[in-house]
């Protein structure tokens, strides 16, 4: 007996010992590792600098006190969901990024203020979960260490990436729209795109604006949204705006992968609202639109809010006539009649054979803003333009309008200026409506030759 218990105590002892071994090695290792900060990065940078000395810039610097680094190539990280359920956005974002990088490098001659330094896109897959996104960020940081990263569309994945970029002091230009992302006190994050609640607000503003023009009054509204964090924030934006104007409303949330929505549509018909603000994802948009049509639900108007859903080319392809007259708020206005916007849209169409959707649009102006920031940094901090704090400074001092930048020309409101939390002060959306099976921008300014359809012609009150 005693022998056996001894064996057992031995077992326990050795377990404790092995855990302690782990702990000790861990302690030593972590101490050792944290003693030398991520030096490798700077080393590689200086290496690139020395290797790629461009003759033009060296000759133009007369003073020896501050030698501006001769940068030939700046890496821009792109972390997007390229695999899994959200790959649809990530893949398009990647296509858009490749296009814009090409434009910047070849048509615009790189970053002029940095001696025409070229941008190099380095891409990593954010996968489907925060862990995968974090892994992607770490991989990108370890292998490339870009000074600026763009990503990662889905909020929790963006948050995971932000933790890495904050630690590494890398500028993160977020294309995740969830409001809370800029409320975390993160220092190096910027977001050009309008946040989620702004989409909800825009949808309501658009409808009210239209109703006013047509002398229609709206008393009752229904907000239905898919229940992801994005959908919820968008809906909240809409709810706040509705409440502001004293309009009664109900809210219904549902999982976007719902199999059937007839009970929800029946619920809506029972409530009989004047307008419906709908925040769908892709899958449910097709289902909802078809079901609403089939159930013969004819409210005055159905306005989509949030980036994807009814007016996306794929949605129109999938839902056909069912999405006619639906609108959607868009973080991007493909029909903005500015010189560069037309050009980029055409280039995108030529290259990929499809209209750029929001996922691409956000990348268009985010990357162009990055370019502007780099130009600015070179001016403000010629000694070390790629230093994160200098870059941050450059971003914050940007004030881009249609007249002075391509980025603003690509942006719905034509104005980009960052608040200290990283959000664009002049954020705004466009509203796109499906008219005769084609998406057209109808608000704030309609495309040439396009009149917004409001109210829905199948609304019983439309003719009377």
């Amino acid at each position: 007996m005693s022998l056996l218990t001894e064996a057992q105590t031995k077992t326990t002892a050795i377990i404790i010992v092995s855990v302690v071994i782990i702990a000790i090695i861990a302690g030593v290792a972590v101490y050792y590792a944290s003693q030398k900060p991520a030096q490798t990065v700077t080393v590689t940078q200086t290496q690139t600098v020395t290797k790629t000395a461009s003759p033009t810039t060296t000759t133009t610097s007369p003073t020896k006190t501050v030698t501006p680094p001769k940068i030939k190539e700046i890496k821009i990280g792109l972390i997007e969901p390229l695999t899994g359920a959200h790959a649809v956005f990530g893949q398009e974002a990647k296509e858009a990024a490749e296009l814009i990088i090409n434009v910047i490098n070849n048509e615009l001659g790189g970053i002029k203020n940095l001696g025409g330094a070229k941008l190099k896109l380095v891409v990593a897959d954010a996968g489907e979960t925060p862990e995968q996104a974090k892994l992607a960020a770490e991989k990108l940081v370890a292998q490339e260490h870009p000074p600026i990263i763009i990503g990662a569309y889905i909020s929790r994945m963006t948050a995971a990436v932000a933790e890495v970029t904050e630690r590494e002091k890398i500028i993160l230009v977020m294309d995740g729209l969830v409001d809370s992302l800029t409320e975390q006190g993160w220092k190096y994050v910027f977001r050009v795109a309008p946040k989620a609640s702004a989409h909800g607000k825009s949808a309501v503003d658009f409808v009210l604006d239209m109703a006013k023009k047509k002398n229609l009054t709206i008393k009752k509204a229904a907000v239905i949204h898919e229940d992801s964090i994005f959908g919820t924030y968008v809906a909240q934006g809409a709810e706040k705006e509705l409440a502001k104007y004293g309009i009664d409303y109900i809210v219904e949330a549902y999982p976007y992968d719902i199999s059937d929505v007839t009970p929800i549509v029946s619920k809506l018909m029972d409530y009989n609202p004047d307008i419906v603000i709908s925040v769908p994802y892709f899958h449910d948009a097709v289902l909802l639109a078809k079901t609403i049509k089939e159930m013969g639900f004819h409210p005055m108007f159905i306005a989509g809010a949030g980036g994807c859903g009814y007016t996306d080319p794929d949605s129109i392809k999938a839902a056909g006539e069912a999405v006619e007259w639906y609108t959607n708020t868009y973080s991007y206005n493909p029909a903005r009649p500015t010189e560069w916007n037309k050009k980029i849209v055409k280039m995108f169409e030529d290259k990929y054979g499809k209209l750029p959707t929001e996922a691409a649009g956000i990348i268009f102006y985010s990357l162009m803003t990055v370019k502007e920031a780099l130009e600015k940094a070179a001016v403000l901090h010629p000694e070390d333009p790629l230093n994160p704090d200098n870059l941050r400074d450059a971003f914050l001092s940007l004030d881009l309008t249609d007249n002075n930048s391509i980025a603003a020309q690509l942006y719905p409101t034509g104005h980009i200026k960052f608040a200290p939390n990283g959000d664009n002060i002049y954020a705004g959306t466009a509203v796109i409506q499906v008219i005769n099976g084609k998406p057209h921008v109808v608000w704030p300014d309609p495309e040439p030759g396009i009149q917004p359809v409001f109210p829905r012609p199948d609304w019983p009150g439309a003719k009377g």
């Binding site: 229940d227 999982p255 992968d257 199999s259 029946s266 619920k267 089939e294 159930m295 013969g296």
Partner: protein, 293 residues
Amino acid sequence: MQVISVDPSLLVQNLVNGVFTGLLYSLVALGLALIFGVMDIINFAHGDFVMVGAYLTYVIATTFMIEPSLTAFITMPIFFLLGIVIYKLIIEEVLGAEPLIQIAVTVGLLMVLRNLALMIFHAEPRGVPFTIFTQPIVIGPITIASSRLAAGIVSLVALWLIHVLLTKTKWGIAVRATADDREVAELMGINVKRVYAVTFGLGTALTALAAALIMTFSRADPYLGLLYGLLSWVIVAMGGLGGVIGVLFSGLIIGVIEALGITFVGAGARELFIYLTFFFVLWFRPRGLFGRR
């Protein structure tokens, strides 16, 4: 979230909606019930057959501009053969294996199907932009979407046909005999392996029919299988092996519970209601509502 006071007409309306959804669920689960009942194969990839069926419907309907529900005439034979091929390649190898092995292998199959769809079609949902079912059918205060009505009726007919097939035909007798006692079935001169292959083929073909009906109002996406996989199993578990009748009634129960959950609480609680019901059914009727061997 405001609570809506539910008025009676909405309740009736949504009960009707639930019934039609439930009929379709029964059809989706029928193939699984057949395969599990006859072969004792635990197929976790069932939902993903529906998904593949939805894509096939999409491809055929949009290529040849055929009404999606009618593509079933083309997709069902294709799926029948596909089922037999999958049976021969994979399922036959794990007949009689431990349940865990069957789960692992069919999960592997599910991953292959799902990601193949993702590779080919990407994650964008695909839908057929045309269908003959566009107008509602209004009966008094009740509005029924015609596609759901059609899907419900077709499901009912399919269930009835399978019921007839199983009870009135030679082949059906052979199948039921095999399900009852595989060894003795062999002693009756029944080629059990062939019965299995055909049953798997038929079970798979039924998912194609369900998928064609689903495509009249919904969409195909690579993750559609998640939606129908567990749900089908819940229906099979609740129905027990009570044959077609068991599947029909548990499908209806699930459909109605879902509709009631959405009506009274909200769509976010939909799954909660379905799976809680499932829990209680299993706890208190471990053999299912309609008996099980």
